[in-house]
Symmetry: C2
Subunit: 408 residues, 2 copies
């Protein structure tokens, strides 16, 4: 049921020099699927990441943060699907550590040079023996053109793999940016989403990359929501191999603005793909809030509307029951909101003004927009100049079916 | 699909001396249903209310607040279903005013002695002419034993009427307490719910009743949620006629503690009935959070769990996918939560401890509890001594069906 989610042709998925990927079947949860992915990074690659703010953050997330905090080179990433290794206490940490130890031994690296990731069911022990046993097969599969297989390899309830790849010319260098993401439920990233991996052959100095990864997340994964459930495993990783010849040290360097813009574009598209393939989604909604006093307030309103089950089911039904949007704006938590200053549009249709229905609004106009697969809800608060945009989807029977059956 | 929602026998629904109710068909939205209710109150009755904090509060809510703020006697209440008269701007206020004017003229009262209430679709004009035309028929129907008809009259997507009635002996007086409520969706009251009406023949001085109504709401309607959508029309009204002979002036008066306890019990039961009849509900869940630093924090955790679509769909499926509860606790917003101190129980089954699964937990024990129609989720945060309890329901296919079809 994915909404306008396109998979690029193989020829349009560009390998990133310095990044090789291997995929293998470990049998973590289900037999017959390649559920283990390894990224192998060439020397000189810088890596930065942002992770969930959920207090029950997964064991691999805890190790990633620890390993990245050392400020030293990262040699490889290892990702399993089928089990989140979250809510698993000390045994979970030991399992994540054992994963790093095993891959490090295979590569002749230190365990702290490995970043581990897991996604799947929470509160169940990770079958680490099966994972470790499959590592040699993943390493035997290492190659540069394995991005689509990796995108398949990290899927859980996703119906389609999510890959975005771009080539841009910056300062005489041909730069490649390729990334993958996954996620369809438990999506309300609060730092980044589970999981996004983005690589470029531009070189980006570590301090700059550490700043940039947060900016990218705030322009992409931190602006999507499916069900408001912030995962225990959200992780967004950016890798910069430098093998294109372009290398930036500071934000003032030549080419950085263009590189940053290209990375934002790819990050946003990866994030939007998660919404397009959200559990049960039939509509892709852009919630644009303007006229807010500040960013926080704009996001409060956008998320209140985006999380309202009543709003989401109305979109599913293509029913212009748009008072539900006003109700959500009204309970978003702006204590001094003057509803007389609020305006609401569906695409180009002016629905509400001055605390009530716009005099020119006709139900058939609302109905026309509601029938579309992609809809922009624009809300003007009339209080200030801050604006924010959040992406979400509708709420369907299928969402309930998927989440009532997820473990079975 | 209501969960253990009982309608008392007619003999167990006690009239409240001083309170007469009339019900009539006004044809507000649908033909053939009695959608208009009038409460007529004897002289000497004190009335207090609490109302939604939604900024898009409905026109009748605005008039109620204004009329109650005068501190003078209230003579009658008038309630329509089928149209919320919310998001209707100035024309909506005029319609609510016209309703008060018309009923006041019929009763020989002042318009400020009338409290108006509306429930139904938002953003549509109230057909006030049809409402006003039906008022004489409602007044012709006035009688003391009309509570069940009134409970029917205020229903929207409710499947069953909600009435609670008690008789208690306090200080030698036989006291009656009877109330009705409605609501099945857009339920996350933030002051009170749309709609609760509670009457007693005890006398309660106005200042004391003004305080008491907030306490009652905080023990009942302000502790339930269905979908997290705070309505534009939430209203909870308490009426005290004094005709039993018992009259209390201050909280220190003889009999007040017993009266308060009885009123809390009835209020809570009325509120719980809304959850039992929530849109699509198949399970009634009690979320008890303890060991919190303060009330706010306990409620944050309870509502995070109560609003999680993933938790709600797991309960619908009777699937003990209980890591979803940990994830919700983890994103509830307690920045310094130490998950090693969190414990989780399903009824008597100890599910999680020390940041992971309890060593004695067996899936079949979780499965056994999940199959029940009523489940208590107990969460101990291990941080302090504050505790709060919130009531909610599961999230089913039927919820989506109801809300995708509500206006059709």
């Amino acid at each position: 049921m994915a909404v306008n989610l396109h998979i690029p042709a193989a020829a349009d998925i560009h390998a990133v020099a310095g990044v090789r990927i291997g995929v293998a079947e470990a049998g973590i949860r289900k037999a017959g699927r390649r559920d283990l992915v390894v990224f192998d990074l060439a020397g000189g690659t810088t890596v930065a990441g942002v992770f969930t703010l959920n207090r029950f953050r997964a064991a691999p997330v805890q190790l990633c943060e620890k390993h990245l905090a050392r400020g030293q080179a990262i040699r490889a990433l290892v990702i399993n699907t089928g089990n989140a290794n979250a809510g698993t206490g000390e045994p979970g940490l030991a399992a994540a550590q054992a994963t790093c130890d095993a891959l490090a031994a295979e590569l002749g690296a230190a365990p702290t040079e490995i970043l581990p990731f897991s996604t799947g069911v929470i509160l169940e022990p990770l079958p680490v023996d099966r994972l470790v046993a499959a590592l040699p097969r993943a390493l035997a599969d290492l190659r540069g053109d394995n991005w689509l297989n990796a995108a398949h390899g990290i899927m859980t309830t996703d119906t389609l793999p999510k890959v975005v790849s771009r080539r841009v010319a910056i300062g005489g260098h041909a730069i490649t940016i390729t990334g993958i993401s996954k996620g369809a439920g438990m999506i309300r990233p609060n730092m980044a989403t589970m999981l996004g991996f983005l690589a470029t052959d531009a070189g980006i100095a570590q301090p700059l990359l550490d700043t940039l990864v947060r900016e990218l997340a705030d322009h992409s994964f931190n602006r999507i929501t499916v069900d408001g459930d912030t995962s225990t495993n959200d992780s967004f990783i950016v890798m910069a191999s430098g093998q294109s010849g372009l290398s930036v040290q500071t934000a003032a360097d030549a080419g950085y603005a263009e590189l940053r813009a290209a990375l934002i574009e790819v990050s946003r598209e990866l994030a939007q793909k998660i919404v397009r393939d959200a559990e049960g989604a039939t509509k892709f909604m852009t919630l644009a809030v303007e006229g807010a006093v500040n960013t926080r307030e704009a996001l409060q309103v956008a998320y209140a509307v985006a999380h309202s089950p009543l709003v989401k089911t109305a979109f599913y039904a293509s029913d212009p029951n748009l008072g539900r949007i006003l109700a959500a704006i009204g309970y978003a938590g702006i204590a001094d909101l003057d509803v007389a200053g609020v305006d609401l549009w569906l695409d180009d249709v002016h629905v509400a003004t001055a605390g009530g229905r716009h005099p020119d609004y006709r139900e058939e106009d609302g109905q026309r927009v509601m029938r579309q697969a992609e809809i922009t809800v624009r809300i003007a608060l009339g209080r200030g100049s801050a604006a924010e945009t959040v992406y979400t989807c509708d709420f369907s029977h299928e969402y309930v079916s998927i989440n009532a059956d997820y473990r079975s």
